[in-house]
């Protein structure tokens, strides 16, 4: 700690910070541009100037850039003094010389850091009378707009894109007044985290095209703190609505999970909420097989008789529905008749994960991943299956650089210096996958078939236990892991191979005997896989029933065609609760319209066992209701869960029925929670148009809908300022309209953003030790095996329903090396068929970097169920003789940017 004097007042601050962090932490309004809490200092914008004095007798002082100046004990500073503020005002005037006078038509307007800082610095009149520099823009793809004229050359974009997230197709070009940030030519930004440029850019150079398509200013958005349902990591997001549509998703800071950044699937993938495929009404199929819309009362009474007449009822849960909905369904049908609705493979992996979480093995959070100094990835395509984790792993390999900097006594916020010093020095990272991985560039990529990855894993575990290994690769992995102070093993279900996960568990078990800091992270397919797996170990029923209730689950993604058809034939009445029309709802006899994550509250348990509460931004239209609400009403008709009326009651019954899930109650404050006696507002205090929005229909303004299930309101009444982090509907602070206002709520810069932000880790009872698991990998069999290949855009069921995401999804392909191709008797331009007869054709592409015996297939709506078949032997793949390549055959995997 150090004592510093700021404008005559003395404070104690952390001496490992730079002055800017310290001053912002003290709540000073000090303008800055190029410094970013996560990316450190660069000193390129010169905006954060303050005056530092030698001692009490120094009257002149000198201007220093606070972001480049370490905190020193006894420092005397002037922040708001005339000299410092005059410097900042003239500096911002310089930065604004070429600014194009287009705030009214800029998507950043109203939440622009440059606007805020200009107002804060006091600059208003442009005195420069010469011409403004202009630039031509580039087309950067369906997500991000480009308007270079607005640039103030702070270099944040290239530092995030290149240095932080490892992209290499965005750079600074040109010299002097012509510095240009873009690609060498028009084209889709390749990096999976490019969307963060929208938030990282302090002005409107990079803007959100999906928002611009139905643009709303920040002050008009009705927002709620939600949890992303795009993968199993549970990143925190702010989802925002206007005129009954989801308009955008922004990052919501959580120091333990996603920090300041999201992946593009999460950020741009919420558009399915507005899809035309939404199920708008309750429906019953009539005698002619045609769906008829009915009222909620009618369908509930119909369902009541249906259930009381039924001899057998089964319920199939969902890994993408809330914990509450799964629990309500389990209660309705009874524990024995409830199935998790996972694929057989995913269920096996999830049960392994639950064993790991209930053992003494350490499961790190994403923030803890960034501290790991050796990472081994076993058969998990992090970038496409759990994208935000890949960004954390990219920071983990920098620990070597950070160690070097610490040795050289360079503070870590000196970003450029730390990177220059380290050059290419990286902490060890080993990526064992079947096809090229995006992380290969920062580590050692090893290509093996799934069976061989599992075998290699067993050998590594043996190597750690002391058995000598011949293989040089395995030897070096064992050495790196045993030498590390915080080793991390990452695995998951992306290869759909439980043997790999078992091998990874064994490595972690072996390693944690030597090093208690060993972390093991298992990624599953969906946002709430763990909740579904925790409630039932049985994935899918083998026999039919009179009534089957399917909760938010497109079973055709998890159960292969013939098996599913057989089961459906044995079901008399199929009841589906879902938000989007899919292949199951189209075969049902009764459908209930469910709310999406953007319209409902729910608890999601992420892959590290963290329970987080998600809130809806708006009330869904008509009879659409949260799935848990439908199930609760059905339960009441059956005299179940009586007395449970609201969300909190339901959560309470979950806690009393399941001790290990009790922590979920504390994931967020309950509906009775108040801040200064008020609820928390979802709208900003300057939300506009209240008396005109529905005036075209009726002048009589309807009452705002009430929210009895949470402490949030669907109105501007209430408070947002002092609400706890996990309940903050949006971030805003006086003078700070942009998302940079988050520093006003953190207890220290990049620290926790107030209470309740982090969620609650469940399964914390870690007394049991995990014994080494029995493994039985197939080994180097001659059979060809199918390896699922996840795509950040296209593999996820719901986000793929967004137009922008879908435009980047691949068509079905089969990627294999030439030896495997000749074994199967195919060549490039041919096609293969999975499980002859029913599955789609896969266009054959040759790539000799693929391990022999592997056929890489994309995880898509049409292929997914087949890729999860537990055995992949001979005869699974056959040449499709009737195949004719589509017209745009060359572009077939244009978005498969990893290969």
């Amino acid at each position: 700690m150090a004592k510093i004097t700021v404008d005559g007042r003395t404070f104690e601050v952390d001496d490992s910070d730079n002055l800017l962090e310290a001053l912002l932490g003290l709540g000073e309004d000090l303008p800055y541009f190029c410094w970013h809490p996560e990316m450190g200092s660069l000193g390129s914008c010169r905006q954060c100037a303050v005056v530092q004095y030698m001692d009490e007798n120094d009257e002149r002082g000198r201007v220093v850039m606070s972001c480049m100046t370490p905190v020193t004990d006894g420092a005397i500073l002037s922040v708001q003094g005339e000299k410092a503020s005059d410097f900042r005002e003239s500096n911002i005037e310089n930065l604004m010389l070429n600014h194009p006078h287009d705030c009214p038509v800029c998507e950043e307007g109203g939440e622009c850091h440059l606007q805020d800082m200009t107002v804060m610095s006091g600059h208003k009149d442009r005195q420069y009378k010469y011409q403004k520099t202009t630039f031509n823009n580039q087309d950067l793809g369906p997500f991000i707009g480009h308007e270079m004229n607005r640039c103030i050359t702070c270099y944040r974009c290239v530092r995030f894109y290149g240095d932080y997230s490892g992209g290499d197709d965005l750079a600074a070009f040109g010299s002097r007044g012509r510095v240009f940030f873009g690609r060498t030519e028009d084209g889709v930004l390749e990096n999976e985290f490019a969307g963060n440029l929208v938030e990282v850019c302090p002005t409107g150079v990079f803007t959100d095209k999906t928002l611009s398509a139905h643009y709303t200013r920040k002050w008009d958005l009705q927002s709620a703190p939600a949890v992303c349902t795009g993968c199993s990591l549970g990143c925190n997001i702010t989802v925002s609505e206007r005129y009954g549509e989801v308009r955008r998703v922004h990052n919501r800071y959580n120091s333990e999970v996603n920090g300041y950044f999201l992946c593009d699937r999460g950020r741009f993938g919420a558009g399915y909420v507005n899809s035309d495929d939404r199920i708008p009404y309750c429906g019953i199929r009539d005698a002619n097989g045609v769906y008829e819309a009915t009222s909620a009362e009618d369908i509930l009474s119909h369902l009541k008789t249906l259930l009381s007449d039924a001899k057998s009822v089964v319920g199939i849960g969902s890994p993408r529905s809330s914990l509450e909905a799964n629990f309500a369904l389990q209660t309705l049908v009874g524990e024995d008749n409830f199935y998790s609705g996972l694929s057989a493979v995913e269920a096996e992996i999830a049960s392994l994960q639950l064993q790991v979480l209930n053992s003494d093995l350490k499961t790190p959070s994403l923030a803890e991943v960034e501290d790991c100094d050796a990472v081994l990835i076993l058969g998990e395509d992090t970038t496409n299956h759990a994208p935000r984790l890949a960004l954390s792993i990219r920071q983990a390999v920098r620990n070597e650089a950070k160690d070097l900097a610490k040795e050289a006594r360079i503070p870590l916020w000196q970003d450029a210096a730390v990177r220059k010093l380290a050059q290419d020095a990286k902490s060890p990272l080993f990526v064992l996958t079947s096809s090229a991985d995006r992380l290969d560039g920062i580590g050692t990529g090893i290509r093996l078939s799934s069976e061989d990855i599992a075998l290699a894993g067993i050998n590594i575990a043996n190597g750690i236990d002391g058995t000598a290994e011949d293989d040089a690769d395995i030897q070096s992995i064992v050495e790196a892991l045993t030498n590390a102070s915080k080793p991390l093993i990452v695995t998951g279900s992306s290869s759909a191979c439980p043997e790999i996960v078992k091998a990874a568990v064994n490595i972690a078990t072996a390693l944690s005997k030597r090093n208690a800091e060993t972390g093991l992270l298992i990624c599953t397919d969906e946002a709430n896989t763990l909740a579904a797996a925790r409630l039932s170990e049985k994935p899918f029923p083998t026999t039919g029933a009179d009534v089957a209730i399917v909760l938010e689950n497109d079973l055709s993604l998890r159960v292969a065609g013939a098996t599913l058809d057989d089961w459906l034939a044995q079901v008399t009445s199929l009841v589906v609760i879902d938000s989007l029309d899919n292949s199951i709802s189209s075969r049902s006899s009764l459908v209930l319209p469910a709310a999406t994550f953007a319209e409902a509250e729910g608890t999601y348990i992420n892959n590290e066992g963290r329970a987080q509460r998600s809130f809806g931004a708006f009330k869904p239209k008509g009879d659409i209701a949260p799935a848990w609400d439908w199930l609760l009403r059905i339960c009441h008709d059956q005299n179940l869960l009586t007395g449970v009326e609201q969300f909190d009651d339901l959560l309470g019954s979950i806690a009393s029925a399941n001790e290990d899930l009790a922590g979920a109650v504390d994931a967020a404050p309950n509906a009775a929670f108040r801040v200064h006696g008020q609820k928390i507002s979802r709208m900003t205090h300057r939300s506009s148009g209240r008396t005109a929005i529905v005036a075209d229909v009726s002048l009589h303004e309807p009452k705002q809908p009430e929210d009895n299930n949470s402490a949030l309101t669907y109105s501007m009444e209430g408070t947002n300022q002092d609400s706890p982090g996990g309940m903050k509907a949006y971030t805003w602070s006086p003078g700070w309209n942009s998302n940079q206002s988050i520093s006003k709520y953190q207890n220290e810069i990049s620290g926790s953003a107030g209470e309740g932000t982090r969620g609650v880790k469940l399964f914390v009872d870690s007394s049991s030790q995990l014994a080494a698991l029995e493994t039985s990998p197939g080994g180097n069999s001659s059979a060809v095996s199918v390896v699922p290949n996840w795509h950040i855009f296209g593999s996820d069921e719901l986000t793929n329903r967004c137009e922008a995401i879908h435009s980047l999804a691949p068509s079905p392909y089969a990627l294999l090396n030439s030896a495997t191709a000749s074994k199967l008797g195919v060549k490039a331009g041919d096609a293969l068929k999975l499980a002859a007869g029913e599955a789609p054709s896969l266009a054959v592409m040759l790539d000799d970097s693929i391990a022999e015996g592997c056929v890489i297939c994309p995880v898509l709506e049409e292929t997914r169920a087949y890729l999860h078949l537990p055995t992949a032997g001979d005869g699974l793949l056959v040449k499709d003789e009737s195949w004719t390549p589509p017209a745009d055959a060359e572009n077939i995997i244009s978005s498969d940017r990893s290969s």
Partner: protein
């Protein structure tokens, strides 16, 4: 006592005097005001200053294109919250409102929207004759608001000054702009 009596008499006298002074109020609309505007020598209505804050219009720029860029500043400044609009853009990137609605049954004619408008699009006019028997008719959509001329500011065109490229105006063609930089040049 005497003083009070005089006061009473003076009051009566003043009231009596006003019986013969011309009225400041006008029997509107039955009789046109004596200070009214004339058209073909007939008095047609009360005189209103050009800056009178009456019925709101949306104007067009000197090129005849609608000025509104759907920036939402009028809506956010409106104390009655009676303006709602939605931005959309044409194929060349020009922003304009998809719909623009003013609920005049709520409007208080404060003119803040006009002050906030960065493009001189929204303007208040010296016209207050907009009563309706049905309140619903006081909801004006863009069709009802948009006029054919530039209103009080005949010369201003936002897009000629702003750096945003639109159809017919590329980068570097706005006021005081240099042609687009050649980013591949390394010349000093």
């Amino acid at each position: 006592m005497i003083g009070a009596l005089i006061s009473q008499i003076r009051t009566l006298w003043t009231v009596l005097q006003h019986t013969f002074t011309p009225a400041d109020t006008v029997e509107y609309p039955a009789k046109p005001g004596w200070f009214g505007v004339t058209k073909n020598s007939t008095k047609v209505g009360p005189y209103l200053a050009p800056r009178y804050r009456g019925r709101i219009v949306l104007t067009r720029d000197p090129d005849g294109v609608e000025r509104c860029v759907a920036c939402n500043l009028c809506a956010v400044v409106c104390p009655a919250d009676c303006i709602a609009l939605q931005k959309t853009e044409d194929e060349n990137g020009r922003w304009y409102p998809e719909f623009f609605r003013i609920n005049f049954s709520r409007c208080i004619m404060c003119g803040f929207c006009e002050e906030a408008c960065p493009t001189y699009s929204i303007q208040l006019t010296p016209d207050f004759e907009m009563c309706e028997y049905d309140r619903q008719n006081l909801v004006y959509e863009k069709d009802n608001l948009l006029i054919d001329g530039p209103g009080k500011y005949p010369d201003y065109s936002f897009y000629r000054i702003s750096g945003m490229a639109i159809g017919g105006k590329g980068k570097g063609e706005a006021e005081n702009e240099a042609p687009p930089a050649d980013v591949r040049s390394l010349l000093p």
